[in-house]
C-alpha cells in the first residue's frame, strides 16, 4: 500500500510546510482584528483593500507594466551576461583585460545608477529597463565566467581528442557551467525585483513601487499594506518559479538542490 503511505507522507509534508504560515496568518488576523491604530489596520481590511485595488483595472495599469519591465530587463541581463561571461571565462586574455573593470562594476551598488540613467537617458520605460538590466547583469556575468573557467580540463581535452566540432564543444562547456549560470541568475532575480520597485518609487507614474508609495503618501494605509503584500508575494512566486525551472534544467546535476550564494 505504498500509495496510501505516499499520500500520508505528502500530507505530512504539506502540513509541515503550511502549518506555521497558516498559524502566523491566523495570529495576525486575530491580533489585528480589533486594531484601531492607523498604521496597523486589521488584516480583514487589508484583504478587502487587496480585492478593491489589485483585482480591478489597477492590475492592468500597474502590475502589468511592472512585470513587463522586470521581465524585459531581467531577460536582457541573462542573455548579455551569459554571452559576455562565456567569452570572459573561456579566454584568459579577455579575462585579464576586463577583470579590473569588472571588479569595479561588481561592487558599484546598482541603485546609484538610477540618478545617472535618469540624467543620461531621461525618464521613461527605457531607463527603468536599463537600471534593472545593469543591476542584474553582474551576478549572471561573473558566475558564468567562473563556471566556464572551472570546467574540468579532462573533459575539455577529451572533447578535443574526439575531435568534436567546435560548436558542440562550446555547448558542452556552457552545459558544464550551467549550475553556476543558474546560481547567478537566481541572485540576479532578487536584485531585479528590488531595482524594479526602487526605480518605480523614484521615477515613475505607474507600476507597483509607484502605487505603493502613492498610497503611503495619501495615507491609504490598508491599500498600502495590500501593495506591500503583493510585492512580497510576487518575490516569493518568482523565486519558486525559478526554483522549478532550475530543478528541471539541472536534473542531471548532483548538487542541483544545493544552495550557495544568496541574493538580497
Amino acid at each position: 500500500m505504498t500509495g496510501v503511505r505516499g499520500l500520508r507522507a505528502a500530507a505530512a509534508g504539506a502540513g509541515l510546510a503550511l502549518g506555521l504560515p497558516a498559524l502566523l496568518l491566523t495570529l495576525w488576523w486575530v491580533a489585528s482584528a480589533g486594531s484601531t491604530s492607523i498604521f496597523l489596520p486589521p488584516l480583514r481590511e487589508i484583504a478587502a483593500a487587496f480585492d478593491d485595488v489589485w483585482l480591478s483595472d489597477a492590475f492592468r495599469r500597474d502590475v502589468v507594466p511592472s512585470l513587463w519591465r522586470l521581465g524585459a530587463g531581467y531577460a536582457t541581463a541573462v542573455v548579455v551576461g551569459v554571452a559576455a561571461g562565456y567569452v570572459i571565462g573561456r579566454w584568459a586574455a579577455v579575462r585579464a583585460l576586463t577583470s579590473p573593470v569588472l571588479a569595479y562594476f561588481r561592487v558599484l551598488p546598482a541603485p546609484v545608477m538610477i540618478p545617472v540613467l535618469l540624467v543620461a537617458v531621461g525618464i521613461g520605460d527605457a531607463t527603468k529597463l536599463v537600471v534593472i538590466a545593469l543591476g542584474a547583469l553582474w551576478p549572471v556575468l561573473l558566475n558564468t565566467a567562473d563556471g566556464v573557467r572551472s570546467v574540468d580540463d579532462v573533459q575539455l581535452e577529451t572533447a578535443a581528442a574526439y575531435r568534436l566540432p567546435a560548436w558542440t564543444r562550446h555547448r558542452l562547456v556552457l552545459r558544464a557551467a550551467s549550475p553556476r549560470v543558474f546560481a547567478g541568475a537566481r541572485q540576479a532575480l532578487g536584485i531585479s525585483i528590488i531595482l524594479m520597485v526602487v526605480s518605480e518609487m523614484l521615477m515613475s507614474t505607474d507600476g507597483l513601487g509607484f502605487r505603493v508609495t502613492q498610497f503611503q503618501r495619501s495615507f491609504a494605509i490598508p491599500e498600502m499594506w495590500s501593495g506591500v503584500l503583493l510585492v512580497g508575494a510576487l518575490g516569493f512566486a518568482l523565486a519558486k518559479l525559478f526554483e522549478l525551472a532550475e530543478r528541471r534544467a539541472l536534473r542531471w546535476h548532483r548538487g542541483a538542490t544545493g544552495r550557495q550564494e544568496e541574493a538580497w
Binding site: 586574455a93 558599484l108 551598488p109 546609484v112 540624467v119 525585483i193 503611503q216 538580497w264
Partner: protein, 255 residues
C-alpha cells in the same frame, strides 16, 4: 596574478575610460553625460571637501550598524533554529517565503513609524540577516558527524562541542556571508538615501541630480564605486585572516 595579466588589466581600464570619453563626447550633451576628463577633477575636488566625508561616514555608519545587527541576529537565530531539527522542518517554508520578499517594500510601512536614519539601518539589517541566517544554516548542515561522534566519545559537553566542532565548521560559511553582505549593506544604505533622503551619500547623489549638478553627481557615483572596492578588499582580507587555518584559504594562497 602574473605581471602580464596585471598589465593587460591596466590596458583594459584605460580602454574602458577612453571608450567612455569618446562615447560621452560623441553622443551626449556634456551637461547630461560629462566626459571623464570633467568628472575626475570634480571627484578629486570632492575628496577635499568636508561634506563628502561626512556623507560617506554616515552611509558607512548605517551600513556597518545594520550589518553588525544582522550578523549577531543571524548567528543567534541560525544556531537556535539549527540546533532543533523539528523546528527547522516547521520553519523552513516560512523562511523560504520571507526570504525573497524584497526588504525595500518595508520602506512605505516603516516610514510611518520610524525616522529615515533608523529605517536605513533596519533595511540593511533585514537584507543582510537573511544572508547570514542561511549561511549559518548551510554551515550547520555541513557539520561532520564523525567529528561530532568523536567529540562525544571524548565526553565533550554540549557547549564544548559547539565551540570545538560546530563553530569551526560554520565559520567558513560566515566568511562567505561577510563577503556577500558588504556590497548588500552598501547598496541598501545608499538606497535609503536615494528613496527616503536619509542623510548620506545616497541623499547627496540624489540632491545633486535634482539641483542639476550633474558633473558632481557623476563624480559622487565614481567615488561610490571606489568605496565599494575598498570595502570589498577589506572584507576579503578579513575573511582571509579569520580563516587563515581553513583549507580553502590555504589552497588559494598556495596558488
Amino acid at each position: 596574478m602574473s605581471a602580464d595579466s596585471r598589465w593587460l588589466g591596466g590596458v583594459g581600464l584605460v580602454v574602458a575610460a577612453a571608450g567612455y570619453e569618446v562615447v560621452a563626447r560623441a553622443f551626449f550633451a556634456p551637461e547630461h553625460v560629462p566626459p571623464l576628463s570633467a568628472v575626475v577633477p570634480e571627484a578629486a575636488r570632492l575628496l577635499t571637501e568636508e561634506r563628502f566625508w561626512v556623507a560617506t561616514g554616515r552611509t558607512l555608519l548605517a551600513a556597518v550598524a545594520g550589518a553588525a545587527i544582522a550578523v549577531v541576529a543571524g548567528i543567534v537565530a541560525g544556531f537556535a533554529i539549527g540546533a532543533v531539527p523539528p523546528l527547522l522542518r516547521v520553519m523552513s517554508s516560512t523562511l523560504d517565503f520571507l526570504r525573497p520578499v524584497p526588504s525595500i517594500v518595508l520602506i512605505p510601512v516603516l516610514v510611518l513609524v520610524l525616522d529615515v536614519a533608523q529605517i536605513t539601518v533596519l533595511l540593511v539589517a533585514v537584507s543582510c540577516f537573511w544572508i547570514v541566517l542561511f549561511q549559518v544554516l548551510y554551515g550547520l548542515r555541513d557539520v561532520d558527524q564523525v567529528a561530532v561522534d568523536t567529540a562525544r566519545g571524548f565526553r565533550l559537553g554540549r557547549l564544548a562541542r559547539a565551540v570545538h566542532v560546530t563553530w569551526p565548521t560554520v565559520l567558513p560559511y560566515l566568511g562567505t556571508a561577510l563577503r556577500l553582505i558588504v556590497s548588500v549593506a552598501l547598496a541598501l544604505a545608499l538606497t535609503g538615501g536615494l528613496v527616503m533622503g536619509a542623510a548620506g551619500l545616497g541623499e547627496l547623489i540624489w540632491s545633486s541630480q535634482e539641483s542639476g549638478e550633474f558633473t558632481g553627481m557623476y563624480a559622487l557615483v565614481l567615488l561610490t564605486g571606489g568605496i565599494g572596492v575598498a570595502l570589498d578588499l577589506g572584507a576579503r582580507l578579513a575573511e582571509r585572516r579569520l580563516l587563515h587555518w581553513h583549507v580553502g584559504t590555504r589552497r588559494e594562497l598556495a596558488r
